[in-house]
Symmetry: C2
Subunit: 533 residues, 2 copies
């Protein structure tokens, strides 16, 4: 595993230096100045193991000098170039520098040897939420960040250096998680364990776009949220009830109603505040401050705007998070309890409402949303029971997906057991299963060919947590025998998205059992102004 | 309707002035000093229309003078008394004042004529969230606030004067809402329109306590939230499915899936930020600030605590609220649309998850909770359609409640149409229905006798909003014909609480249809440490 220092920085910067006068007739002099910059100015003070940036191309037209700088910290190099030009051209020709602009900037962090970075889920998630970056590209050759139009203050404040340093950390941490997953996962992450046969799919458009045109969905303000209208709600209800009946109830799971607004301290115990605090929604109750709220109401009434600072003063600290896991209140339910092996397993399921993940700019379509429905199965048992229950769930799920939904699916080994994110820095040894997380994925034709991983959408995960939560929530067996927990989340919002991506909106093209359940198709409410199709 | 000035302030204060020496042998002198205080000191500068406070009782024991002061601003009077005593006793006997303490303080705001304050829901809600008050008593003679142990700084900072002024405002505003409700409500609020016959109920304990002992519920940290275990979840599912099938689907309502995390600006448009901002949960997404969150994670990992200030810095302004109404996203769905009368009515229902109200200290048991399930029906139509749909819903609901749930119920006229709270200061005239809100209520035997309003729990409200939301969300009919909206919320969490309050946990005592649906009763998970019974 490489250390931070082994990730070499490669950059490419396109920028412009605008001068106070025409320099077209100073071509030769400029050429000499740039040679001097490359030979004497840019190498100054660069440590031996770092690459020296160089001006590799330039052109002078009217009063503008356009340059390409490649190598190490090119964003610093362009400032040095500017200072040098200002000094030299000022002295000899009384020409000053009016403006410096960076038009494009690509930063690549590359390891010495190829590493399958693109398989590391943690890396994808973390890089997606870096600020102000226009594009991120992860390949086995490294991670490339692209910027457009960087302002001078951003460069001067050292923001780019901090982003690069942070990015090195993310890469190293991603690889550590990967290694941990590799260590506990006896089968190589990314392995496809099983797949359905190739199916005749009748659709290859993006279901979010078509669904919006037909009025099966309507966007809700705030990214990553939708209103489902009657036809989509009916499909959702069909798939939900099928999974509840054919998997959860069939296997003897009992319904619980679990809260979705969760005391933030439970999230700390689950170690999610050490793992994914930037992926949660935080909830603040109002203070008891009637006078403040009287003023607030008056301001809203008069201005028709929301006085943000007043509101902030009127709120408590974030005391809750919106549940991102759905199984979390179950661990609180068993916290500190003493159980007999003979009373195990305990098998619970919940489908009482939405759970939430903050996706920032990464939210997309019907399939990657911030507010989503899920059926969550969670269980407590001996290690054998826990693994066996997971196996039964996978078996019953395959039957549903194959014989009722008729999806094109595959089952893979996850590279990214979500519950381990907070455990990365832990030293204590706990028992973990051979295979922490396996995934059910469905093919999305509109995304591209089957051979690309990015054409597959994860619909459900089947997790065996080992002792992770049992330890965090202090659950004990009377005679000290080992307890494991497991959970399965059926992402019903994603089942719906995947089904539509494979079969589209014309119900006559649907697989027979689904068509029968869907008929008669409920109507979309009609306005003169909506929907568009 | 009285103005603020017509609410007379009556107070009664019990306090102690502790002196630096024994004053038991100065009884006569104290008596004279107190007469002087009453005649000359306390009346100073009190406006003619205000009551002058008077010391009405006193006793001097050892170094303590105990007093009762009654009349106007008694909290100011005790300070004047103290100053006068310090001056007089100091001059004549070199006795100083060590301490002044207020032990009990009752503040009553009374109108000239009796007014049925206790019927004004707004008043109850608002007074319940006043800070530091030990008791609030609302009768037709006025509103009485009781304090215990008030500190001197509280008096000196003028907090009491502000609370009294604020309380006058609340009373006046509550009466304005009442008047508005009276104006639009053709039947007197509080009227019982209909009631079931008296039933043989088999239970009179508090279902929250018994349910917790039996393990049908478990408290969740954070007041006003519970985990429902399998038996309670089954009862919940039975009542939910019955109402969905026998009311919503039977009347042709179509399912929608409505978001529960709502952009705060939609709440502004609904005028709830002018109405009940202190009753909402506010949601903040995290900022894009990876560096801050790296520090945050490290702090959590090292300290096992949550660094509140760091977290606050890492969050955006409150950008969302947790939906308190459940119908709210529907108005966003129809916002700005143009509809033809021929395509009406539109009838939607949602039961996709929890909605939320911040109840502060008022949360209680299974029946007044912060996170609750509801089936929400909402519709758009002509005024005739809107009223007619409401009538149909009430009729079908009565059948379910009578013939399946077998509850003892009544239907009343609400004094407190929730959606009007933000409208109070509006000047624009809109069309409103004759009867904005009627309620379905169930009898809770453990609360007391049937004749007390407080023994009844509201389970559902049936609302006709008139043009309120149509105007706020700019929905138009092609030919400009009038549009109304209506909504009904079935508080399924409360249906469950009321059913258990009437029939208890022994299923063999349940009404026949409910017993049949409930059998076999699922088991509660067994621990050595829980449940207690």
């Amino acid at each position: 595993m490489p250390r931070k220092e082994d990730l070499t920085l490669h950059t490419r910067l396109k920028g412009t230096v605008t001068l106070s006068d025409n320099i077209e007739n100073l071509q030769d002099e400029i050429s000499q100045l740039i040679d001097t910059v490359n030979e004497k100015i840019l190498p100054k003070g660069i440590p031996a193991k770092e690459k020296v940036p160089k001006v590799t191309r330039w052109s002078a037209k009217r009063s503008r000098l356009e340059v390409v700088i490649e190598g190490g910290r090119a964003h610093v190099a362009i400032l040095r170039l500017k200072n040098f030009l200002a000094e030299e051209l000022g002295r000899k020709h009384r020409i000053g520098v009016r403006e410096v602009a960076v038009k494009e900037y690509t930063v690549r962090l590359a390891p010495k040897e190829k590493i399958p970075f693109e398989k590391i889920g943690y890396l994808r998630d973390q890089l997606a939420i870096l600020p102000e970056i226009s594009d991120v590209n992860v390949t086995e050759q490294g991670v490339a960040l692209s910027y457009k139009e960087i302002s001078l203050p951003t460069i001067r404040k050292g923001t780019l250096d901090r982003v690069i340093a942070h990015c090195r950390n993310i890469i190293i941490k991603g690889m550590e998680i990967q290694t941990l997953a590799m260590k506990v996962t006896k089968i190589k992450p990314g392995t496809i364990l099983e797949r359905s046969k190739r199916k005749k799919l009748t659709f290859n458009e993006d279901p979010t776009e078509v669904g919006a045109k037909l009025g099966w969905i309507k966007e809700f303000p705030g990214k990553g949220q939708h209103i489902y209208t009657p036809p989509l709600s009916k499909l959702f209800r069909i798939m939900t009830n099928t999974l509840v009946n054919e998997v959860a109830l069939k296997l003897g799971f009992q319904e619980f109603l679990l809260p979705k607004l969760v005391n933030i301290d439970i999230y700390r115990k689950m170690k999610y505040l050490e793992g994914i605090p930037e992926g949660l929604f935080y909830v603040c109750p109002p203070k008891r401050d009637p006078e403040l709220f009287e003023v607030f109401k008056r301001e809203v009434r008069l201005t028709h705007e929301i006085p943000a600072e007043r509101l902030r003063q009127g709120l408590e600290e974030p005391r809750y998070v919106l549940d991102a896991t759905q199984c979390c209140p179950f661990y609180q339910f068993i916290e500190g309890e003493l159980v007999r092996k003979e009373d195990l397993p305990i098998k619970a399921f919940d489908y009482s409402g939405y759970t939430y993940r903050w996706e920032g700019g990464a939210a997309r379509g019907l399939e990657r949303i911030m507010e989503f429905q899920r059926i969550e199965l969670v269980w407590l048992g001996t290690p054998e029971q826990t693994e066996n229950i997971r196996k039964q769930i996978v078996d019953e799920t395959k039957k549903v997906v194959e014989k009722i939904f008729d999806l094109e699916w595959r089952i893979t080994v996850s590279d990214d057991p979500f519950y381990m994110k907070g455990r990365i820095a832990e030293e204590r040894e706990i028992k973990l299963p051979d295979l922490p997380t396996i995934l059910l994925e469905a093919y999305l034709p509109f995304r591209g060919p089957r051979k690309e991983d990015s054409s597959w959408l994860s619909l459900a995960s089947f997790n065996n947590h080992g002792e992770h939560f049992v330890e965090a929530f202090s659950v004990k067996e009377t005679k000290g025998r080992t307890l494991f927990t497991g959970c399965t989340g059926f992402g019903t919002s994603r089942f719906v998205a995947a089904f539509l991506a494979q079969y589209g909106f014309d119900v006559s093209n649907w697989p027979q059992k689904m068509r029968e359940k869907m008929l008669p198709v409920p109507e979309v409410p009609k306005f003169l102004t909506w929907p568009s199709a």
